[in-house]
Structures are given as C-alpha cells and as structure tokens.
Symmetry: C2
Subunit: 115 residues, 2 copies
Amino acid sequence: MDKNVNISILMDFYGQLLTLKQLDAMDLYYNNDLSLSEIALELGISRQGVRDSIKRGEKQLYELEEKLGLVKRFNDISKNIDIMNSVIDSLQIADGDKEKLDKIKEISKGLTKDL
Amino acid sequence: MDKNVNISILMDFYGQLLTLKQLDAMDLYYNNDLSLSEIALELGISRQGVRDSIKRGEKQLYELEEKLGLVKRFNDISKNIDIMNSVIDSLQIADGDKEKLDKIKEISKGLTKDL
C-alpha cells in the first residue's frame, strides 16, 4: 500500500467519523509509520485485519471529502487569507490607526488556525 | 415534533452524509414546512416511516456536529471575520493604498461566503 500523505490530512478533518479500530490502525500506519505486521502485533489483530481496516478507512475518508469537501474548502480559504495577510502587511497606515491594524492582523492571522 | 431551526443549519453542513430518503423527508419538513402526512403522500411512504426517517436524520446530524463541530467552528470564525471587517471599514488609509484596502475588503468579505 502507498503511504499517501493526503490521508493524514483527511484524518485530521474526518478522523472522528471513523471507528476507533480504523482510527488506531490508520494512525499507527500513517502518522507513526509502523508496518502492517507491527500494527497487527500492537493491536492484537491479524495483519489482514489491519490491512482491511486501513483500506476501508481510506475509502470512507475519500468519500467524506467528496461529499463535504472540507479539505478543499480549507485550502481555498487559507490561500485567500494568506493573500489578504500579505496585503495587510504592506499597508501604509495612518499613525492613529496603528492599533486598529494590529487588531486586524491579530484576527486575520488567527483565522487559519481556527479553520 | 418541534421544528427546530438549528436542524436546517445542520442540514446545510452535513446533509450530504444522510441517505437520500432522510434528506428528502427532512427537506420537505424543515425547509418546505410540509406536515408529516403531506410528506408521506409526496414520498409514497407511511407517515410513521417519514417520522422515523426524520428522527434518525436529526440524531445523525446532532452526532455529526458533536464529532466535527463544523457549525460551531463556522459561527466562531464568522464572528471574527465580522469584527475584522468592521475594523477594516473604519481604517484611515493613505491615498496610495486605496486599491490595497479594496483588495483586502474584497477578500475579507468573501471569506464568510466560502466557509
């Protein structure tokens, strides 16, 4: 099986919707880089069971993204926020508005974190 | 059954994860304000079947929000974007930066739409 980096990202967004067994197996495989055999040993299930769990989990994650599109949405918005931030950073601002600009920057830079 | 306005919002976020039957019944009930009997007639299923579909759908929507929290996240971010927009609107800007400010406003006001 390919270790697709996108899967880790999908797990961040939709992991809560997987079963605990799937989540455990996928976390060990994708985030901790264990082999199928090592995971089987760790979780006390067969190597084939681990493989099936991960495969089913991957399928579900792709379907969830197809239906909800959260990762795509996150990427689109993040890009816009980054553009906005760089324009904000380049503004020539009246001295009296220094505080306001700081407030804008604070919120704007916090947005990506909250997405 | 109470017609909870929150359900319509939850449907916007998670509707794609419900079955088509649930989605149809809930849409007619919550967004088109039909009665259970009218929906039963419309969908060609029993009144009790409609009721069960809606109840199960509601439960799933609440569970999805508990797990993913998209509505809460949306509300939090929207609030921050609104605050940011009102500060941006109040900025005293150097004449040369007029165009930049317009760009910031355009992106900023588009963010909520893209969430």
